[in-house]
């Protein structure tokens, strides 16, 4: 094997080497006896963000054409580049978000940043997977790191419970995915995506292969928390430390949805008629449950969990369409979803009273008076999630519904519009609590500078997306084209 075999995987190799170097640095830095060591935590977190930033540059440098590596197990194309950039931004934002919280709660340990970077590495491997085995490897690396960060606040019972629950159910999902993969291998004789795609061009897939595909879909649907595999989401989101929830709701979702898209479009794209009704069901059920179940929530993290289930439903409409417009819709949605969610969670992280986090929706009361700017930003994010024009969230839904109607899936699009109207109810409820209810006990005033910057940038992007939509649309269109061509 020559060195040019590794070039396409250069960003991954770089991240892997750097994360191990950071681990060593952290281990040998750590001299203090205390359970948390703020100094090394800050150093490693800062360096991790730097590493992720450099990786974005590396990824973009490799962008222009399709490259294969490691016996076609690993692929780099425009689609992978786009998704990787989103994931890297999301992970870096998650590390920045968590600093203040972890220090306040006495769990600021440098392993947090290391694990987040490991999870990011797994996500990059998932996005670039061109074989069911490399898919599984990436997925496991990501999931294993996530299980640990979910339980990171190990003195806290709910955090431990979240980690354990996520671990057990995640293992179950991995089992289903592997069972599906083994069926696919058994009936197709290969696990490589390119070979599978060639094979399915020949005609209708065998029944065994379709059963395999359905099991793979079930495993992946768990990872993106789509109904009916969503049960873990509210509990894990509620129990995990808030910055971890912020991380969960963005980076792994983007990576898993990108992976989902690649798996369905690339190897199984020609069998779309066999799996479309499954995805339609999953998508519609996610949208409906996300909208209806969120209405009764009191806890804002649970509400965000149901909201993310709903968003996954909208994204999956793009997958039902299974053409270039659909994939472009997915990619645009993911980018906007990333910005909205990072912003919203940054606002949630500002909710503290007496230096402890509070997470009930009623705690937001009177926020418009105590924190006018943050309340306004949260209003922008909530309106955007509800899909109010001219905010970015409206366009995200627009492109998805457009693609669906063009492809003749009018029914799905109509359900999507109806559920976003129901969804608007609970997003607007948050706005109402912030603006029209008075607080008995106002939230703490101090908000850290990093949070303010993140909220500001996110709100700016959401508000003014409509002026220059091509900044996201064009790369997304190019990425979608690259996926369909490959």
């Amino acid at each position: 094997m020559s060195i040019d075999q590794i070039i396409p995987a250069l960003p991954e190799v770089f991240v892997a080497c750097m994360v191990m170097a950071l681990l060593m640095l952290g281990v040998f830095q750590k001299g203090a006896l205390a359970d948390q060591d703020v100094k090394s935590f800050r150093l490693i977190s800062g360096l991790s963000v730097g590493v992720l930033g450099l990786t974005v540059l590396l990824v973009v440098m490799l962008a222009d054409r399709q490259l294969m590596a490691f016996n076609n197990m690993f692929v780099v194309d425009g689609f992978a580049t786009y998704a990787k950039v989103l994931v890297l931004i999301a992970s870096a934002a998650a590390i920045v978000l968590s600093a203040g919280y972890l220090e306040r709660h006495g769990v600021a340990r440098f392993e947090y940043a290391v694990l987040v970077v490991f999870a990011t590495l797994g996500m990059m491997m998932m996005i670039s997977a061109n074989d069911l085995i490399s898919l599984y490897m990436g997925l496991e690396m990501q999931s294993l790191s996530l299980y640990v960060v979910a339980a990171f606040q190990r003195e806290d019972q709910r955090s431990t419970e979240a980690g354990l629950k996520y671990f057990v159910l995640g293992a179950l999902a991995s089992g289903m995915l592997l069972y599906g993969a083994s069926l696919v291998y058994g009936f197709a004789g290969t696990t490589n995506f390119s070979v599978l795609a060639d094979l399915l061009k020949g005609g209708a897939p065998s029944v065994g292969l379709v059963v395999g595909i359905v099991f793979v879909v079930a495993g992946l649907a768990f990872k993106v928390s789509a109904v009916p595999f969503h049960m873990w989401t509210p509990d894990v989101y509620e129990g995990a430390p808030t910055p971890v929830t912020a991380f969960f709701s963005v980076a792994p979702k983007i990576a898993a949805l990108a992976l989902f898209t690649r798996v369905m479009m690339e190897p199984f794209g020609d069998a779309a008629d066999s799996w479309r009704q499954v995805i339609i069901f999953v998508s519609v059920a996610s949208m409906v449950l996300g909208a209806v179940a969120a209405v009764a929530q009191r806890n804002i993290k649970r509400l965000m969990a149901y909201s993310s289930i709903g968003h996954v439903g909208y994204v999956l409409i793009g997958l039902c369409v299974a053409n270039e417009a659909g994939v472009r819709g997915i990619l645009v949605y993911l980018a906007i979803y990333l910005v909205m969610n990072v912003g919203a969670f940054a606002c949630i992280l500002c909710m503290k009273r007496g230096d402890r986090m509070v997470e009930q929706i009623s705690d937001l009361a009177g926020m418009s008076k105590t924190h006018p700017m943050i309340a306004f930003a949260l209003l922008v994010f909530m309106f955007s999630m509800a899909g109010v024009p001219p905010l970015a969230g409206f366009f995200a839904k627009l492109y998805i519904f457009w693609a669906a109607i063009d492809a003749g899936l009018v029914g799905v699009a109509v359900i999507g519009v109806l559920t976003s109207v129901i969804g608007a109810f609970y997003y607007l409820r948050i706005v109402r609590v912030m603006y029209f209810e008075d607080a008995e006990d106002p939230l703490d005033a101090g908000v850290s500078r990093e949070l303010k910057i993140l909220i500001g940038v996110a709100a700016f992007i959401i508000c003014f997306f409509f002026i220059q939509p091509n900044l996201i649309l064009e790369p997304a269109a190019a990425a979608a084209k690259a996926l369909l061509a490959g």
């Binding site: 191990m20 359970d35 016996n71 197990m73 690993f74 392993e111 690396m141 640990v148 339980a151």
Partner: protein, 203 residues
């Protein structure tokens, strides 16, 4: 040819005999030793089949690790083996029945393999003979060259698992005194006083 057959019968006989002795010897330590003997002779059988890698693994993993672990367990745990053995005759009919069923099934499998069309061909296809490549070499090529990406990824996953286990469970206990050699070496002479104690008198 006759040497090969003789070697096979020797290894096979010793394996079976050692297997019988594993379950019949009174002393559990002897049982484990006979188990090791059985492993060694099975390794010999693998070598005769041309599967030298399996033979090595059998010796390294089963003799080197598993059997030694058994030995530790047998020696460390206070298990009354005679009590465990007391129901032997009572369970013999049931055990014998299970054994008979297994034997019958094995015969069916072997018979089916012989009778189906192209069975002999399939038997050969299961073990293709690569020219000039030992199976250790072939496995190495698969793992370290063909699938090097997966191999490295698996290594990283294990590293993550290790970090996770340490992060979630390791804690510094405050209620124990531990030795710090650097601190001890750094102590000055002022903390230690040497006194001569006369015989028959205390300090």
């Amino acid at each position: 040819m006759i040497v090969g057959a003789l070697a096979f019968y020797m290894f096979a006989f010793v394996t079976v005999a050692a297997g019988v002795l594993v379950i019949s010897s009174r002393n559990p330590v002897h049982s484990v030793l006979f188990l090791i003997l059985a492993f060694f002779n099975s390794a010999g059988l693998f070598v005769l089949l041309g599967a030298e890698f399996l033979a090595m693994i059998l010796v390294v993993v089963y003799v080197g690790a598993v059997a030694v672990l058994f030995m530790f367990v047998v020696m460390m745990l206070d298990i009354n083996f005679t009590a465990l053995r007391s129901g032997f005759l009572q369970y013999l009919p049931l055990g014998g029945l299970v054994g008979l069923i297994l034997l019958a099934e094995l015969l069916v499998v072997a018979g089916g393999w012989q009778s189906i069309a192209g069975g002999a061909k399939m038997a050969q296809a299961a073990a293709p003979l690569a020219k000039g490549v030992t199976n250790t070499h072939a496995l190495g090529q698969l793992i370290y060259t063909h699938n090097v990406y997966l191999f490295q990824a698996a290594g990283l996953i294990l590293l993550v698992a290790m970090i996770g286990a340490i992060v979630l469970t390791h804690r510094r206990r405050v209620d124990v005194k531990r030795q710090r050699i650097a601190d001890q070496n750094a102590r000055g002479t002022d903390t230690v006083e040497v006194r001569k104690v006369e015989v028959g008198k205390g300090i």
